[in-house]
């Protein structure tokens, strides 16, 4: 318990230091408006991609419908915050969005998660498209025009706090007994079933948690960009989130952070290239995959515990 406290405190300090550092840089004028926009985008992408990584990387279920759940969160939160334009409204909106999204994921997940591999991918893609088409035709969502004049409530600190919270939630889930059950489904479904793991239950739980975090990402997106339309949540958006997960390394949360940051910075650098931008982006993607198929970090994770242990060991060796 005391040992864990040390690691947890280190993480907490790191989070606070990161927050203060970025704020200082912003006050110092080193991070300009464009830089802040990049940071917010990276933050939202991290939230979206860690949720998807839980589904793909840890429970081993191939979902291509992340943008659908993101859309649910975005629309629910946008509708709530336009009537209650306060930070409290934002909190209610995020919780409500995550709840609705989790409910939809539960309803969709129980039947479809029986499918495996690419069949599941295509079914979840279909679900996301159906969600998008429904949003496109509802009156309350203002049809294809979408919602606008959404209050700007997802400021940089809010996004930062949410990144920390969702990451904590997911990392703690992975490192718990439940997380090991989820990972056993990925490793071998039949073996884990014969060990008494209720595979369907854990698959659905991973899917639902992933969908809820996607909704939080969507809510932040809506209240940062301030306009949303159904076209923002198409198949290509699901694929873009998938790219972050695979590029970072499937099953590595640290990798997701690195990939989201790398892609965010790449996007910023390529801003001046006009039409050539996407050409360079796609070439970079192909080359990265051809030369590093397991992603930037593979399944490696940054772990304070390991660093401490290593440090401790070397000190012990020095003593002896």
């Amino acid at each position: 318990m005391k040992k864990n406290l040390k690691y947890n405190l280190t993480w907490l300090v790191l989070m606070v230091v990161g927050f203060v550092l970025i704020n200082v840089l912003e006050f110092g004028g080193i991070i300009d408006a464009l830089g802040e926009q990049t940071l917010v985008t990276i933050g939202i992408n991290i939230i979206l991609a860690t949720g998807l990584n839980l589904i793909i990387g840890f429970s081993g279920q191939f979902s291509l419908g992340h943008a659908g759940f993101m859309a649910i969160g975005a629309y629910v939160c946008a509708l709530i915050t336009t009537s209650i334009a306060t930070p409290m409204g934002m909190v209610i909106g995020m919780i409500a969005g995550a709840a609705v999204s989790a409910l939809v994921a539960l309803i969709v997940g129980i039947p479809t998660l029986r499918l495996d591999g690419d069949y599941l991918a295509i079914a979840t893609m279909g679900v996301a498209e159906i969600i998008r088409i429904i949003l496109n035709n509802l009156k309350i969502t203002n049809g294809p025009a979408g919602l606008y004049n959404i209050p700007l409530l997802a400021t940089w600190p809010v996004v930062y706090i949410m990144v920390c919270l969702t990451t904590l939630l997911i990392v703690n889930l992975i490192h718990s007994r439940d997380g090991r059950a989820i990972m056993s489904v990925r490793e071998n479904e039949i073996a884990s079933e014969s060990m008494g793991v209720n595979t369907t239950k854990w698959k659905v739980i991973a899917f639902v948690v992933g969908a809820a975090t996607a909704a939080i990402g969507g809510a932040l997106h809506a209240n940062y960009i301030q306009t949303i339309a159904p076209t923002d949540f198409g198949i290509m958006n699901s694929i873009n989130i998938l790219i972050i997960v695979v590029l970072g390394g499937i099953g590595s949360i640290t990798g997701t952070f690195v990939a989201a940051a790398v892609l965010g910075v790449l996007d910023l650098v390529l801003q001046n290239f006009g039409t050539l931008r996407m050409v360079i982006y796609s070439l970079a993607l192909i080359l990265l995959m051809v030369f590093k198929p397991s992603g930037l970090l593979g399944t490696r994770e940054l772990s304070i515990r390991k660093i401490f242990n290593k440090f401790g060991h070397s000190k012990q060796k020095g003593d002896a």
Binding site: T275, M278, G295
Partner: protein
């Protein structure tokens, strides 16, 4: 009754385009278990090839069709050689992301080279409409239907009757065993890509003629629909892809005729999900029991 027949005709000609594209997906998937996301963009390349040879070299329709098939076939082999072959032994999801990368590259590369404007496809054929009873069918619709069916029959003959087809089937069942009995896997996979891409090229030229407009992003939606068709029919199975394509084409036109055109894509996906839940391997697919 006439409107039903009319929609049937429209649905069949649209469905045959989906079927042609779905065949490419299903063959590639059957042999290397890769969702070739770039397949829809090969179809776009075929349409652009048709546009240029008809405008610049004044090819007639048949010459444009055949040259587009040859060009796209070679192009597909090139893409496989450059992007997918190095990833043959990598995790499947890495190959999938590469396929997405190739798709982005083709879309944006074409947009960069030829601008992303919509172009009107040269009308090499005079449109004639035949009226049979209350049903009107244009010569282009008829052409699409006939050419697609001929190509599908040809494909089936290649796969069933030729030595290369036998090799393709062998590799799709067990690549290692196929290699042991002397089949060159690389050649077989290249040949599969050539066949699939040639069919996509043919579909591209025909859709250009039918819809009269082409642009660099035209392959995205039909590509995904065709993949859905392949899954619907049972992925890896050639007759399944054909059936899936026709089902989706018909479903779309029926929804449109009933006045639900806003929901036609939703209907396609809903049918897909329902069929997958009832028959998890698609209409014609057989569920293989997993053994421990």
């Amino acid at each position: 009754m006439d409107t039903i027949l009319q929609q049937l005709v429209n649905g069949l000609s649209l469905g045959s385009i989906y079927a042609l594209l779905a065949l490419g997906y299903t063959m590639v998937y059957g042999i290397i278990k890769l969702i070739n996301f770039a397949h829809g963009d090969i179809y776009m390349v075929g349409a652009f090839w048709g546009y240029y040879v008809i405008n610049q070299l004044h090819f007639n329709f048949w010459l444009a069709l055949i040259s587009a098939m040859i060009f796209c076939g070679l192009f597909g082999v090139l893409v496989e050689w450059l992007a997918y072959r190095p990833l043959r032994n990598s995790p499947r999801i890495a190959a999938l992301i590469t396929a997405i990368g190739v798709s982005f590259l083709l879309e944006n590369g074409m947009a960069y080279l030829f601008t992303s404007n919509v172009r009107s496809f040269p009308q090499v054929m005079h449109v004639v409409r035949y009226h049979l009873g209350g049903v009107s069918i244009s010569n282009i619709q008829l052409l699409i239907l006939v050419v697609s069916i001929v190509l599908m029959v040809l494909l089936q003959l290649i796969v069933r009757k030729t030595k290369m087809g036998k090799a393709m089937r062998a590799v799709s069942v067990d690549p290692e065993a196929a290699q042991l009995i002397g089949i060159n896997i690389d050649h077989t996979i290249s040949f599969t890509f050539a066949l699939g891409s040639a069919l996509a090229g043919a579909a591209g030229v025909m859709i250009g003629l039918y819809y009269n407009s082409i642009d660099p992003l035209m392959g995205m939606t039909p590509g995904i629909k065709a993949f859905v068709a392949a899954v619907l029919g049972g992925i890896g199975l050639i007759p399944g892809a054909a059936i899936g394509g026709f089902v989706i084409g018909l479903l779309e036109t029926i929804m449109q005729a009933l006045g639900f055109s806003a929901f036609k894509d939703a209907a396609v996906y809903a049918v897909l999900i329902i069929i997958l839940l009832i028959k998890p391997a698609g209409i014609l697919g057989k569920k293989i029991k997993e053994k421990v």
